[in-house]
Symmetry: C2
Subunit: 461 residues, 2 copies
Amino acid sequence: MADRDRIIVTLGETLAALVEAKKYTTLRDILVTMNATDIAVIFEDLPETKLPLLFRLLPKELAAETFVEMEPEAQELLIQGFSDNELKEVVDELYVDDAVDLVEEMPANVVKRILKQADPEMRKMINEILKYPEDSAGSIMTTEYVSLRPIMTAEEAIKRIRRTGVDKETIYTCYVTDNNRKLVGMVTLRTLLLAEEDDRVEDIMEDNVISVSTLEDQESVVQMMAKYDWAAIPVVDQETRLVGIVTIDDAIDVLQEETTEDFELLAGMTPSDKPYLRTGVFETWKSRVPWLLILMLSATLTSMVLTGFESSLAACSALIAFIPMLTGTGGNSGTQSSVAVIRALSLGEVEFTDTVRVIWKEIRVGVLCGVTLAACNFVKLLVVDRMLLGNEGVTPLVAGVICLTMVLTVLCAKTVGCVLPLLAEKIHLDPAVMASPFISTVVDVTTLLLYFQVAKLMLGI
Amino acid sequence: MADRDRIIVTLGETLAALVEAKKYTTLRDILVTMNATDIAVIFEDLPETKLPLLFRLLPKELAAETFVEMEPEAQELLIQGFSDNELKEVVDELYVDDAVDLVEEMPANVVKRILKQADPEMRKMINEILKYPEDSAGSIMTTEYVSLRPIMTAEEAIKRIRRTGVDKETIYTCYVTDNNRKLVGMVTLRTLLLAEEDDRVEDIMEDNVISVSTLEDQESVVQMMAKYDWAAIPVVDQETRLVGIVTIDDAIDVLQEETTEDFELLAGMTPSDKPYLRTGVFETWKSRVPWLLILMLSATLTSMVLTGFESSLAACSALIAFIPMLTGTGGNSGTQSSVAVIRALSLGEVEFTDTVRVIWKEIRVGVLCGVTLAACNFVKLLVVDRMLLGNEGVTPLVAGVICLTMVLTVLCAKTVGCVLPLLAEKIHLDPAVMASPFISTVVDVTTLLLYFQVAKLMLGI
């Protein structure tokens, strides 16, 4: 991939030089051999003023495809430079789901122009999709699918696909509906093509079709497609009438977005849908500072615990040196379980009803990990800290306090780490917000309380 | 999805009851209406001894599909129960890439039986794919693709697809090769079907086909397919001869696996490819304890720093209470940048050559975040800790020490957080190992050193 990216950068420089030299025919000849995704990347790096001119060099279809791949800012700029006719040409070539994305991104006055240039059929479809809530199956579906009737023969079906297929998002998965637009089956072009010409659609179709409702959450739609290896999934309304389909290419985009969102939440950042290097410093600050602030302020609790035990600490100052190790190990243990559970939840491997099984597993893992760590730590404390580093405060009894705290901390952290994401799922929060930073704060306080209680009991301070 | 899962659980119970009651005809009638993925899930929960019997109820094709979806343990069990003839029937129905996955999972004696039952053509293809390194494009490709010749007409091409398509993994993307098997173009079934019958393939094909080499890393292959919205990508050898294709359904599986792996590394766990609830306690312990141990032992550094400054801490004990807040905020800040960079790297938005841009961005974000946090903290320290909680050790000067340390810590953490993953990428390590737990340990030590230096300078202790 890196190699390819470098080639595109070099190509971009060549094209920029050609623009500079006004060699438009050569430019056009090169552009038509390229694909829309790469052209979009290169165009974004060229001076804005050249954009409308370059765009006009592209053949109609490639122009529309390139347009779809560009960032909203560049799209707006282009539309502002378009004549009504040019705008119509681009809009006519768009698939309806891409048109919807565009309408959602543009300011009101641009949207008005777009809808005015769209033909009535397209306008109706755009408005149809726009009414579904964000992140629902309805909002990511397209209404441009192939629908067949049960009584058609394979030959008739293929003829119909040939006639109407050019405007459809996919022709490879076709849906079979009855007179009331109710979904009754699904048939792939592969099945149609490999069947006998006079086989009836109803005889060769899959009639146990799994569909999703328009309001289904987009993430679960996509996980379902990934699980069953489907190229498309039908979307139906409350009366099980077919209203649209979600295709795999759009599903993958959703998958990537949702994954990025999980990573961002996991690290305590407000999700953003812009690529890293295109997000401004101020915007990045805005997405990061709220969580840092909340977590910093909630650390007041740890300060309070430490202040409360100031006299105990003064009595046995050797304990202070191991606070970061204990809270750190607690935090890491908790992060491991929370991330494992968060991922399992988002892959659908675990759900809320599994809570008891999950906790039972984490408790056992916690005991194993805690005991292993404590044993190693005990040896390390006496050999490294006491003997090698000459820290005389680390008596066997102090080492015992530290190691007992270690076992309890790891156990608590593992339990808290697995429970919080499950609770979040239950109350319909994204489990990923319960990740690393949040868990660490909870675990820090718990660890300190445990540490001082154990010290009090064992050292009598 | 959850609803659907519940339905499958209920259905599983019904089927188990039918097995118990030996109502095999009813069972068969239900099973044939279901899809392979769901059947596999249900079969795995039934008693092992019933498995071979149930499996024999399935029609041939569905049986093979179900087999592919099962866990390796169940597959092995089934194969051991198969007669040679039954095994041959299943193997004959498998796509070659699924057969390769099977061969890779099974113990040697089972592999021998499988290869013996595979027909010579299949055996040759399996061995072909097996020779590519793990995680390479070659290892995830299939050799069952449709290849066309440039001089064919659209009609001839479609006829060829009808004739040979039944064994191909996909018939929707076809590749055009010359007499030396060199890749010269790509044409979709859609284009063929919508073209005139006597259009030549060479005139309607895409001749600027992007391909990957057999040794390309699977993750970058998949990111490329996602970026360009491709349903398949051709894999070529050193002489640009077409040797196979990777299809989107397999690409999505790789994408999911790689994402899970990133999550696991991010949380300091050794990646495992088993679902959460299917991984045993001991196995989970083994994947988690090494990182915890390493990080716990490396915390010896923080203990050393703290012990070294014991006398300073005794002189101004108020400082102790804010250690977890400072190290915590540092850790969180570092995690934010490292995770943002790790994700950008894996989406191909950033690469090593962007290092300077990334650092410059993180420094500015770090200053903004650090100053915001320090300002809020200063107010909080004087109002909450000093006035409300009556902690008299928190003088304005002490608050100043804490807040100056805060700015420096956040700045360092952001820089370290973005640099480490980029360095890992450079030396061909997975950047995700440089995440949260690792960064926290580095940041803890830095924070403490900064804290005591600032305290020494400002408080003269």
